[in-house]
């Protein structure tokens, strides 16, 4: 089991229920959305109540180089508040040292063994050769150095990497950055990919996604680092297929995919429409009309994920829509992601994992086809475009890594 809860506002009782139901394996906490007191209590409480769960603290230091961001409670954390609004001239060696020390000391001193790993502070960057990528690398190297020598017996360190999707366009820059990252003697990486704010699709573009998969693969499979990918939503099973040990997803749209909108003056907007998390479709159709249409066509069973929550929809999705609360929706989504993870992680060897991932996508494409044949229409956020993109990405990933499907040749 590998899916973690990506936390934000409105945590409520979701985490505890997800842990109790066994649909998540742990949690990544967001200080932006919690007071320091609340956070300290809850993490230390979880550390006791769920000893097997992964508990991480994302320092969200990457907000510190945004222009007047909406940073919520972050300013109540000294490691952040002392060091925000950072232009590129604000990274002298001594200052990098301080940013890192304050951040790691805070985690170490406040949470001790209740965190599974310490997570390094990082900075968002848009290209692997740009100046901000270098600052991210400086912070990473300092974190590794300090973790090695400055803390008593700390929890193992994860280096956080927060990078824009567009950075993965060109593989040579990715490879060069990997050469540098793999000099670090740390336990692993916590990686967040910044998505374009208004992308309607949750699938990354095939080329950047293939290179991102390669990035995770080189870190995990080749260099034996632990790799945890945040905000990974439906892409979790593919990331796990190439070696990620954990992925994470939250309840709101901005906790499923990472964009800067979360830290911007709000655009307002309405409460989003309700959706159902369908593992067979690898997407979340609208309860009204999409799921209702599928129900009317007598095909509901082909898109159900198999959680207990499905029983709410047996009499027709709309009948029980009010009961399909935000919390249920979240738990059902974690269930879907976890069930896919299980199928991947049951395999040994990247060859087998990739093959199962491809089968999952193939099956999904078949369900879509069946629904289309019955006249069911989807909007762009739900339609099967993501599957085609992922299939392209996996083919490209195979070409880059020269991991070919042995069965392919024996046909």
């Amino acid at each position: 089991m590998s899916v973690l809860a990506q936390c934000g506002w409105g945590r409520g009782g979701k985490i505890e229920r997800g842990l109790n139901d066994g649909v998540i394996n742990g949690v990544i906490m967001s200080p932006r959305d919690e007071t320091p007191d609340r956070l300290e209590n809850i993490i230390n409480q979880w550390g006791q109540s769920y000893p097997g769960a992964i508990v991480l603290f994302d320092p969200q230091f990457y907000v510190a180089n945004l222009n007047a961001p909406r940073d919520g409670h972050l300013g109540e954390y000294d490691y952040y508040n002392n060091n925000s609004g950072l232009g590129r001239a604000q990274f002298s060696g001594t200052r990098i040292r301080n940013y890192v020390r304050e951040c790691l000391d805070y985690q170490h001193d406040t949470f001790g063994n209740n965190l599974t790993n310490l997570v390094s502070p990082s900075i968002l960057f848009d290209g692997f050769r740009d100046n901000w990528s270098q600052i991210a690398l400086n912070l990473a190297a300092e974190s590794a150095d300090y973790h090695d020598s400055g803390l008593g017996k700390p929890q193992p360190l994860l280096i956080s990497i927060v990078v824009s999707e567009t950075a993965f366009q060109a593989i040579d820059a990715v490879e060069e950055f990997l050469d540098a990252l793999t000099e670090l003697n740390v336990a692993g990486f916590y990686i967040i990919v910044r998505r374009n704010a208004n992308s309607p699709q949750f699938a990354m573009e095939p080329r950047p996604f293939a290179n991102f998969l390669y990035f995770c693969y080189v870190l995990s499979e080749i260099n034996e680092y632990k790799v945890i990918v945040g905000y990974s939503d439906w892409q979790s099973f593919l990331l796990e297929a190439v070696g990620a040990s954990n992925t994470a997803c939250g309840w709101y749209q901005n906790l499923k995919q990472f964009s800067l909108d979360r830290f911007r003056p709000s655009l307002g907007g309405q409460t989003p429409r309700k959706r159902y998390s369908s593992a067979p479709l690898l997407s979340c159709p609208l309860i009204n009309p999409e799921l209702e249409d599928i129900y009317s066509a007598n095909l509901l069973s082909s898109v159900l994920s198999g959680s207990n929550h499905d029983s709410l929809l047996i009499g027709g999705p709309l009948t029980n829509e009010p009961a399909w609360t935000n919390e249920v929706s979240c738990l059902a989504h974690w269930f879907s992601l976890t069930s896919l993870s299980h199928r991947i992680l049951a395999q040994t060897g990247i060859e087998n994992k990739l093959r199962v991932a491809e089968l999952i996508m193939q099956d999904s494409a078949l369900v879509y086809q069946q629904l289309r044949n019955q006249g069911i229409n989807f909007d762009t956020q739900t339609d099967q475009g993501h599957i085609l993109d992922w299939q392209t990405a996996i083919r490209e990933f195979r070409t880059i890594t020269r991991i070919y499907d042995a069965n392919e040749f024996s046909k």
């Binding site: 934000g8 506002w9 409105g10 932006r32 959305d33 180089n65 945004l66 222009n67 007047a68 909406r70 940073d71 919520g72 409670h73 300013g75 109540e76 508040n81 609004g85 950072l86 232009g87 590129r88 604000q90 968002l124 901000w132 709101y252 749209q253 901005n254 800067l260 911007r264 003056p265 709000s266 655009l267 307002g268 907007g269 309405q270 409460t271 989003p272």
Partner: protein, 302 residues
Amino acid sequence: MAKPNLKIDDIQQIIPQASDIELVDDTSGQKLVFSGIISGIKYALKFMKPNPQLTEEGTFSERLDDVTVRAQREVETMGQCETPYLVKIGPISLETEEFDGEPIIYFSEEFIEGENLKQYLQSNGQLSASDLIKLGSQISEAIDSLWQHRKIHRDIKPGNIMRRSSNGDFVLLDMGLVFDFENESISLGPVGTRIYFSPEQMDFANRRQIMDFRSDLFSLGIVMYEMATGEHPFIDPITKNSFDVLRNIANMNPTPPVDIRNDLSNELSDVILRLLAKRPALRFRSIEMFQRDLRIASERMA
């Protein structure tokens, strides 16, 4: 952000410890300002209403919490600044409360007898050259004081600068709290007070330009220009079309103030223009240098 609909009685109910509550200003679109006496001292009491559309995702109170905490910290920072040219925070720091089913945000400030520069310009016209120099010198002192806490005001404009009637000193009012509560993105919303933004301030996504005190210097430059000439440097004086202001801020080189008002010295005109340079590197790299050049301009005039 919007102006709440509150009467004196309501204020009395929200802040029972205040007496002699009076309405001071309801002309702003965002704030409602009263005065009142607390522990024998007169304070300004400012009220705002967060836009309910803030909800997006999550409950309203979550979001309110989210936007309020930052504003609270900014108010705290102001409280730590020592300069007489930055308004003092009163006994009520930033608070949120539900009133009559509607959330409101309020805080108290030192009550300053006098006019803000917007009112001053309307009633008295442009500032004298020596007052301009005093304005530059005193408000830059306030900017410096904030910058020592690595804070930027972000909302320097004529409506946010008071001229004390007692001694003619200039006082900078509350920091750019308003923006934290805005529900419009900069590109979508009305131009509004953004006509005093620096070029780098308009740019959230492009993280190449992090703001420092030089951004506030730019806004101060616009205020000085306007108080010198009666005209906003980036608004066409003929068409008064404020639609292009943001583009002009990014690209247009304003007419030297001395070309509009010829009793200004070239030196003072140049100092104002230099505040308005497009890039921080072309302004002043320290408040000290700016104040020195102001002094030189002042000596040339004498």
